[in-house]
Symmetry: C2
Subunit: 357 residues, 2 copies
């Protein structure tokens, strides 16, 4: 059953840089068999924990609807499936928009800088408070894939298997570049600079970011498909402009500039080598089965990054990690939209995991 849940953690969370987040809250969804092995699903950076719409409780589509359900990859008959909103993200977990217990007001800009390692450590703490002794299988996409990889490197005994999708062992430079365009476009507004992160111009910057995301996180062939058979250039211009503008107000309503920046900067910070002497040392800790998936047209996580990750793991444990590249006209968003290909890639991996129980 899809249900929005909240849990106040048993202790404060202290960030890598020493900031204390008091009475931290995790927002999450839970599906499936409460007594089954735990599957952890991890969402993308501008998304939230609504991985699946498997009942009528929340009719919004989930990002991995095609993969969650009875008899599906993330089988609600077999698994206890937990999908947690990441630390700093907007959908209920402690973030810039939640209340700072010290002031009684939302943190806003005072929410501490967090790294991907913070997102991973916070996730571990939250899962323990949710009674999870071990994650049977962690899967996720984009930012979520980085989070679960960091979780597995920090706590290899806590994670039984991993499926990062649209991923890398460290944040890609192309991804940092586009994130910084988004961050700069928000931070250069007068509203932001005068401390009004809810001002019109900051909201406008978030809407521009939404349109920029639509282009960057897809692939030009999507636009070719959207205008297939059209020959009138003005009609194409209108069609594509309407598509870009569609849903912008709702997008701005659903995204807070501080939360956006927190997630983008956490992604920028991501490197599995952080805290270890080398990336090789970190990858040597990934002693669990790994199915690594990239999308061929993804400019943020081009497949060679996934290949490097898989080769790095297999250098320690030959054959333990597998790399699948899926083909998509959707660029980065292939990690959400190519459900059938994801299913085909994950099915034998799941069967192997279940046989090992």
């Amino acid at each position: 059953m899809t249900e929005k849940k909240f849990l106040t953690l048993s202790t404060s969370y202290t960030t890598i840089n020493g900031a204390e987040i008091k009475q931290p809250v995790v927002a999450y969804e839970e599906y499936g068999n409460p007594d089954g092995p735990v599957v952890l699903l991890c969402h993308g950076g501008l998304s939230n924990q609504h991985a699946a719409d498997i009942t009528d409780v929340d009719p919004a589509p989930g990002w991995w609807d095609k993969l969650v359900g009875s008899g599906n990859i993330f089988d609600t008959d077999k698994f206890r499936i937990l999908s947690l909103n990441a630390l700093g993200s907007i959908a209920g977990t402690s973030s810039a928009i939640t209340i700072d217990p010290d002031t009684g007001k939302p943190y806003g800009k005072n929410f501490p800088y967090i790294t991907m390692e913070d997102m991973a450590r916070f996730t571990k703490q939250a899962l323990e408070d949710l009674g999870v002794e071990k994650v049977f299988w962690a899967a996720g996409l984009s930012m979520g894939s980085l989070l679960l990889l960091n979780l597995a490197v920090l706590f290899p005994d806590f994670v039984g298997a991993i499926t990062p999708v649209a991923t890398s062992a460290y944040m890609t430079s192309g991804g940092i570049a586009i994130h910084n365009v988004f961050i700069n476009s928000i931070q250069n507004t007068p509203g932001w600079q005068s401390g009004k992160s809810d001002s019109f111009d900051v909201r406008n910057a978030v809407m521009v970011m939404s349109q920029m995301s639509k282009v960057y996180y897809t692939h030009y062939s999507l636009y070719e498909k959207m205008t297939e058979g059209m020959t009138d250039q003005l009609a194409k211009e209108k069609q594509l402009s309407d598509y870009l503008m569609a849903g912008m107000e709702a997008y701005a309503d659903g995204h807070d500039a501080n939360c956006v920046i927190a997630c983008l900067r956490a992604c920028n910070s991501y490197n599995l080598a952080n805290g270890f002497s080398s990336l090789d040392e970190a990858l040597g800790r990934l002693n669990m089965p790994a199915l690594v998936i990239n999308v061929d047209t993804d400019p943020e996580f081009p497949p060679h990054y996934g290949r490097e990750l898989v080769d790095g793991i297999n250098a320690h444990y030959p054959g333990l990690a597998e790399h699948v590249i899926i083909h998509s006209i959707n660029g980065h968003l292939g990690c959400v939209l190519e459900g059938e290909q994801l299913k085909a890639a994950m099915e034998p991996f799941k069967v192997g995991l279940l046989q090992s129980i």
Copy 2:
């Protein structure tokens, strides 16, 4: 000698849609042998007519410095080289920032909507006023490649040979999409909507566009190269953010929002089929040698568009058009930066043209 020149045209220019631009001005540069065959160079959409810095008169680098000079591809000993600022663009030719003779004030938002066909027809009129009876060879990149192709289709007897670089027979849908992100980001500002196109927020939108351009018009491998050997994510983040922010104020000083929109919309309008019964009919008019060049990593003009153009010409004149794909880590900007590869591709084409004189 590099010299900034201006010419008031002998008659008004009337746009395809019937608007009259009175006392139109063309700004241009001229290099080389004034008695030689005419080479026309056509600039990109956010660029200007400064194709080459071949003397000390203007020390700014030209966009095709590597190709212009004594003994070079665009040989200043042999050719009369003309580089015209396109209609509607910012660098001196009639545009939103030039004076409307009827009001004595800059046109601003009242400058008429222009299409690529207008840019081409205006170029023809300007060249005639410059005493040009025939263009021996027209070459240009990005928007300039569209302009020269449109010129050649409209006036095939006026153009002897063409080398469009980063190009297509019609504006690509991916290109329209990114153009519309830029246009929307400007037009959604309160400044724009209240008629103040020089307001702070419009200027800010132009700066954001500059950063988006840096990412969109390059390729992720450029950012990989810029951070090669770096392992500290915060250092990468700073390096890339600094790069994106570099030159933004100067960029905003050098670009007017109305002129930007005029050029982007003219590109959006581009389709060689416009005014003809079909694209095939239009391509059948391209009865001159054509060297068509695309960049393998260009998301705005992926090579298959150049291939379609070449195949379309060769269907009428087998072997008359040739397609070269150059390899670059610079994405779209490879059309400026890959000077050596452009030279290698253009040299035999030039030799062939000179032999035909």
